[in-house]
Symmetry: C2
Subunit: 99 residues, 2 copies
């Protein structure tokens, strides 16, 4: 089982439409792929977590919003389970399985 | 670095209020802890992923809704980053850090 986290999953709880859209656009610009309305995933590198943190500091309201970043090992990524409708045409993830 | 996934993170994209509330209640009954409006986390065991899948099959609309289950290693769980406001008083997670 691979142990190094080489993916990150970013999930967010942002109620304001403008901030939520800004955050989604910024995460996309950082190279992450949208997998749900409020979840992005992508290959990680040493700078990416810092970049995501900086983007959050700039955009979110710390009194109401919440963002969580989870490093994932390749094994965790492969073992993920996706149930139901995949997110739109831009979702180009491979692996995993639909139940 | 610990390699066995001993936590699971469940994130969901469910637009209908009734189904979303049903799913949240069911995940809580399975012993998971809410960390965002549409995200639960908890210690995993061999039956839990199956239980979550069964709950999803019963509740969600496969044509519109999406649920994703990510197994996390203890290291991934410890390395998670939480930014902004934590989710309510029921959130009793330890570890991680607020930036």
């Amino acid at each position: 089982m691979s142990t190094q986290p080489t993916f990150i999953l970013v999930i967010y709880d942002v109620s304001d439409d403008w901030r939520r859209n800004e955050l989604a656009s910024a995460l996309k610009r950082l190279g992450l792929t949208r997998v749900q309305r409020s979840a992005f995933i992508g290959p990680s590198n040493s700078a990416l977590v810092s970049d995501v943190k900086n983007v959050c500091r700039r955009i979110i309201d710390f009194s109401t919003d919440n963002v969580q970043i989870y490093p994932l090992t390749p094994a965790s990524y492969r073992m993920r389970v996706v149930i139901g409708k995949e997110f739109g045409p831009e979702d180009e993830l491979s692996g995993g399985f639909i139940v």
